[in-house]
């Protein structure tokens, strides 16, 4: 056995390139798995701590029925009296802004949470501290009796705005400017995470005074008596509260918000996990590939060992041992690389979600898991070649073969491949499965499709050679056609390499295709959403009359007021919080337009309907997700009671991830008693300049309002960036896949060259120049690249369609498939360039082989 190990280590060190490639393959696979899972975990962890921390021990939340405006604090007594309630804690929310807080960027609210602006909570310090963790990092907490306007701020917010302890500063609220004194800072945990840290607390009375809402509160947080929060008991209390408090308020579970966020993330993660799975799969491929090659390369050597008495078990063990060594070292390094990768991915996710992700200690479970996966996959991948090695007969050492023995899978696998292809195509086409199994099945189908494509490669090699012959001759000369012949001498190897390329290319196509299809719709909407030239948003809602002020400027042609609020939609099953966009249809259509999903709809009629009131447009996302159509009615909770809104049209709208309806500003004020607005879309006159107009608006209204003004072009650019970032994860995986494919090509061609040393020597003896040698090898690589690219493009297009479908089914984003022409070219070019670059090294090595060495090579 000792001898076996010695031979193994020798074999690893003499085949340094191969060992290194295999090592890299394992490393990349493990790194990808680890990084993705770690990042996912961080994201989940952040979201849960965020919601747990801010919700504290709260079991139920009481809001005003319409989810807007507050209610009388008299209810508090009723709540406390309700049986089962242990504590009832009032909160008043006071949107505010620092005068110096001049964000130049409008909040983009379609990807992650809409962090919104700074918010002050008016609380009763003693009560609140009982149910939530206020960890004071500096200074002290609010004092219960204090009548001074003391404030405790989240520390990051205070640092960011350079506010020091004891400092007095002013904030702008809807009712004017107020002076506050900073007495304490909240650590970044528990309640300090509220509103992603743009948060502070003041005394409830002070808050009421500042907002001129004496006697009013926005929310009551309820803690029930049995702290096990037995769900039945909770439901009972909820029920009791509901009956007791009547229609004015609604009782909610605080977990709801977190769920929405997790749901959104999980869609994204399914995609990532799927990609990680594929990355692992190609990783395994590469390993299998590398080991098979080692076996081929060592056939004679192993045959010799057999002939001097090594048993076939010993030979197999030797190969498995080699796999074990590589697996362990590759997996360990991969975990390290994965750690680095996850740092990058996590900061990327943070960017996307709009707040810092928690990065805790290294998750031991995931670490061990991914290392184990790496090692196990390596062992499995080396096991088959090991068995093959064990079967080498001692005679093998003496035999010379033009092609290797091929397994039945290579010879007859194509029939299975075709069956798989047909079957998965049929499944995709008919799609007989319910919604929830759809995606899982979808990934299974993708896998079947992939396997099918792979199995069909070996029998099609001849055809590929024939088709490409003329082109190859043109590019690489006569010897190119001799080179490509070699692809079918080891069809297994060729197949594996093509498949690796296929995966890489298809990932490029999928990423680009998805982004393309996604951005086409998104940009159409962005265009309307940020209609006109300038986007003016008020940090604190302002009067509608500001429209006249804006239009009074000579450079402004028209301005359209818009107001977003959250409303509660009562659908048959549950209460769903959605955004309500109130517009003034007349001025809105002057500045921008609605994008109706149904092109045949009479847009004038729809807009007229909207003006009439009690009418809304729903987003295509809502329409698809809940099967809503024009003519249907939506029951929405209003200020007084509930009210039906008639759907007039379906429009493209991704605000708040598409959970949005559009109605009129007049409805907003009659039904929801909201008269102020927070956004103006501005169209400037033809000969005005955007930047100058922005400056003018700032300078004219700076003193009166807190405005954030941005040109539409820059909003759109940022949206574009955000989008691309969302897909960077996929890009990273794509790059890993392409790298793995490159390693595969390098591996295959090195092997091919090595095997053919004598042939190359012979050709050189006959007068083949070095350049011709290189071209011959490059031709071989080029055909590999072309096969991989074409199959990869086809596969990628199919995958894009499946993903789009799945996404539509899951989230309601229904997107039109747009042929990603650029991605197709990119995939083709990447495959060709990668295969040529990877082939260059073996090609040069081949050309450098001295003729005589080649002839003597045994």
């Amino acid at each position: 056995m000792k001898l076996t190990r010695l031979i193994t280590i020798r074999s690893l060190s003499t085949r340094r390139l191969r060992s290194l490639l295999t090592f890299f393959g394992i490393m990349l696979g493990v790194a990808a798995i680890f990084a993705i899972n770690y990042t996912n975990q961080n994201a989940y962890h952040s979201i849960t701590t965020l919601f747990e921390g801010t919700a504290g021990r709260v079991n139920l939340e009481i809001h005003s029925a319409a989810n807007i405006g507050g209610f009388s604090e008299d209810i508090l007594a009723d709540v406390s009296d309700t049986p089962g309630v242990s504590q009832a804690v009032p909160v008043l929310k006071l949107p505010a802004a620092l005068p110096g807080e001049m964000t130049e960027e409008v909040d983009l609210s379609f990807f992650g949470t809409d962090a919104g602006g700074f918010i002050l909570h008016g609380i009763q310090p003693d009560l609140d501290a009982d149910i939530r963790d206020y960890k004071i990092s500096q200074g002290r907490f609010l004092q219960a009796s204090s009548e001074a306007t003391e404030v405790v701020l989240a520390e990051a917010y205070a640092y960011e705005h350079e506010l020091a302890l004891g400092q007095s500063f002013s904030v702008v609220t809807s009712q004017g400017v107020a002076e506050l004194v900073l007495v304490g800072l909240l650590a970044k945990e528990g309640a300090g995470l509220t509103n992603v840290g743009k948060f502070g607390v003041i005394e409830l009375r002070a808050a009421q005074r500042l907002s001129m809402r004496e006697g009013q509160i926005d929310q009551i947080d309820v803690v029930v008596q049995v702290q096990d929060s037995n769900p039945d008991f909770l439901a009972e209390v909820r029920q009791a509260l509901g009956t007791r408090l009547g229609n004015e308020v609604t009782v909610l579970s605080p977990a709801g918000q977190g769920d929405r966020m997790t749901q959104m993330l999980s869609g994204y993660q399914i995609g990532l996990n799927f990609m990680a799975g594929i990355a692992l799969f190609i990783g395994a491929f590469l390993i299998y590939n590398a080991f098979s090659m080692t076996i081929i390369e060592r056939t004679r050597e192993l045959g010799l060992l057999r002939s001097v008495g090594m048993t076939s078990g010993q030979v197999s063990a030797q190969v498995v041992f080699e796999g074990l060594l590589l697996g362990i070292s590759g997996a360990l390094t991969g975990a390290g690389a994965g750690l680095l990768l996850s740092v990058g991915l996590t900061s990327l996710m943070s960017e996307l979600m709009g707040y810092d992700l928690y990065t805790g200690s290294i998750p031991v479970g995931i670490l061990i898991g991914s290392i184990a996966i790496g090692i196990v996959v390596t062992l499995i991948a080396s096991f088959m070649p090991a068995r093959q090695a064990g079967r080498i007969s001692p005679l093998e050492a003496l035999r010379l073969r033009s092609h290797q023995d091929e397994g039945w899978l290579i010879r007859y696998g194509w029939s299975i491949g075709i069956v798989l292809l047909l079957l998965s195509a049929a499944v995709l086409y008919i799609n007989p499965f319910p919604y929830d199994v759809q995606f899982r099945l979808g990934s299974l189908t993708v896998f079947a499709l992939f396997l099918g494509a792979m199995l069909v490669i070996p029998v099609t090699l001849r055809a590929w050679q024939r088709i490409s012959k003329v082109a190859v001759r043109l590019v690489f000369g006569n010897l190119g056609t001799v080179g490509i012949r070699n692809l079918d001498r080891a069809r297994k190897r060729t197949t594996l390499t093509c498949t690796a390329l296929l995966v890489g290319v298809s990932m490029i196509v999928v990423t680009q295709g998805m982004t393309g299809s996604f951005s086409a719709d998104l940009f159409a909407w962005m265009d309307a959403y940020t209609g006109g030239d300038i986007f003016v948003s008020a940090v604190v809602p302002i009067t509608r009359n500001f429209q006249d002020d804006l239009e009074g400027l000579s450079s402004v042609e028209t301005a359209a007021p818009v107001r977003y609020i959250d409303v509660i939609w009562l659908n048959e099953l549950e209460e769903e919080t959605i955004s309500f966009m109130g517009v003034d249809a007349a001025s809105y259509t002057n500045v921008t337009r609605f994008i109706f999903s149904d092109p045949d709809i009479s847009s004038d009629q729809a807009i007229e309907d909207l003006k009439k009131g009690n009418t809304i447009f729903v987003s295509s996302v809502l329409s698809e997700k809940y099967n809503l159509h024009p003519g249907d009615q939506l029951k929405i909770r209003t200020r007084q009671d509930e009210q039906y809104f008639q759907i007039a049209a379906v429009v493209l709208d991704f605000y708040n991830q598409g959970m949005v309806v559009t109605g009129s500003l007049d409805d907003l004020s009659t039904s929801f008693e909201i008269a102020d607005v927070n956004t103006f879309l501005v169209r400037i006159t033809e000969d005005s300049d955007t930047t100058l107009t922005i400056d003018e608006i700032y300078s004219r209204f700076e003193d009166d309002y807190q405005l954030v003004i941005e040109s539409n072009r820059s909003v759109r650019e940022r949206a574009d960036n955000l989008m691309r970032q969302a897909f960077v994860m996929f890009d990273v995986l794509g790059i890993i896949a392409v790298m793995v494919a490159a390693l595969g090509v390098l591996n295959t061609l090195s092997m091919s060259v090595l095997e053919r040393t004598r042939e190359i020597g012979l050709l050189r003896a006959m007068g083949m120049t070095r350049l011709q040698t290189i071209k011959m090898i490059l031709a071989e690589a080029a055909l590999l690249g072309v096969i991989g690219a074409i199959l990869g493009i086809g596969f990628g297009l199919a995958l894009t369609r499946i993903f789009l479908e799945a996404m539509g089914a899951m989230s309601g984003y229904s997107l039109d498939f747009i042929m990603p022409v650029r991605a197709i070219w990119l995939g083709l070019i990447v495959a060709l360039v990668i295969s040529q670059i990877a082939a260059l090294f073996p090609a040069i090595k081949a050309a450098k082989t001295p003729v005589l060495t080649a002839i003597h090579y045994e």
């Binding site: 010379l400 073969r401 033009s402 092609h403 000369g477 006569n478 010897l479 001799v482 012949r485 070699n486 079918d488 001498r489 004598r758 042939e759 012979l762 050709l763 050189r764 003896a765 006959m766 007068g767 083949m768 120049t769 070095r770 011709q772 003729v851 005589l852 002839i855």
Partner: protein, 249 residues
């Protein structure tokens, strides 16, 4: 007229601290249409000499003239082009590319030279016919016997009608019948195409088909016998074996 001649050819291999003197001053001249055999004990430098003659390697000192060119100091690229146009090789083993058919293997030198293969169909058919390989033209090497493989190799060496044909133990692994066929073919093509053929062999029977046998020993020409066309095979064989025996003593 000599198409190939060498002057005081030396070849040394440096192996670490060892210097192996494979050739120690060989002067040889071969005329057009001449069929020369090279014999000698194992390690005497036969293959080394053949490789130098074909421009596969460079001598340590001395000159080699092939088709009016001194090829002893050519760059790799130039040597490659000289080989391509002027030299044909037949090796003992492994002469064919396993992925190509017999016919394609034969055409290989033309493919390498970027020739239009259509112009060579007649020559190809001619050679295949001569070698009795017409119905084997589409076979892959692993579907051919050893003798057939060597015939294909010979056909390939002949297709460009090179001035010099070099063969290193071409009959090494053939049975005596195939070996004899091969010798007759070589003999014929030397006459017909006016080629200089130099063949390394261990087999006195094969050497008996040549015009002249050069004996190498320890990197030097130890002896040489020439035959006239009238010499009978047994006499030739006898002469060769006698010389071999004398040199071994």
């Amino acid at each position: 007229m000599a198409v190939l001649y060498t002057q005081d050819l030396h070849k040394q291999y440096v192996l670490g601290q060892h210097i192996v003197k494979a050739l120690k001053g060989v002067s040889l001249s071969v005329s057009q249409g001449e069929f020369v055999g090279i014999m000698g004990p194992s390690g005497s430098g036969k293959s080394t000499l053949l490789h130098l003659l074909g421009g596969l390697d460079q001598p340590t000192s001395g000159d080699i003239h092939l088709a009016d060119r001194n090829i002893s100091t050519l760059s790799d690229h130039q040597a490659t082009l000289v080989r391509r146009r002027n030299v044909g090789f037949v090796f003992q083993f492994f002469n064919l590319l396993p992925t190509l058919s017999a016919e394609e293997n034969i055409l290989l030198p033309l493919i390498i030279d970027g020739k239009n293969l259509k112009n060579y169909q007649e020559a190809l058919n001619d050679i295949l016919k001569k070698l009795g390989m017409e119905n084997r033209r589409h076979h892959k090497p692993d579907q051919l016997s050893g003798g057939e493989q060597q015939r294909v190799a010979l056909a390939r060496a002949l297709i460009t009608q090179p001035a010099v044909l070099l063969a290193d133990e071409p009959t090494g692994n053939l049975d005596s019948r195939s070996g004899t066929d091969m010798m007759l073919l070589l003999q014929r093509s030397a006459r017909q195409f006016n080629q200089a053929i130099i063949m390394v062999t261990h087999d006195p029977k094969a050497a008996a088909y040549t015009d002249r046998v050069v004996f190498l020993k320890d990197g030097l020409i130890a002896d040489e016998i020439s035959f006239s066309a009238d010499d009978k095979q047994p006499d030739r064989l006898h002469g060769i074996m006698a010389t071999q025996e004398r040199l071994e003593r």
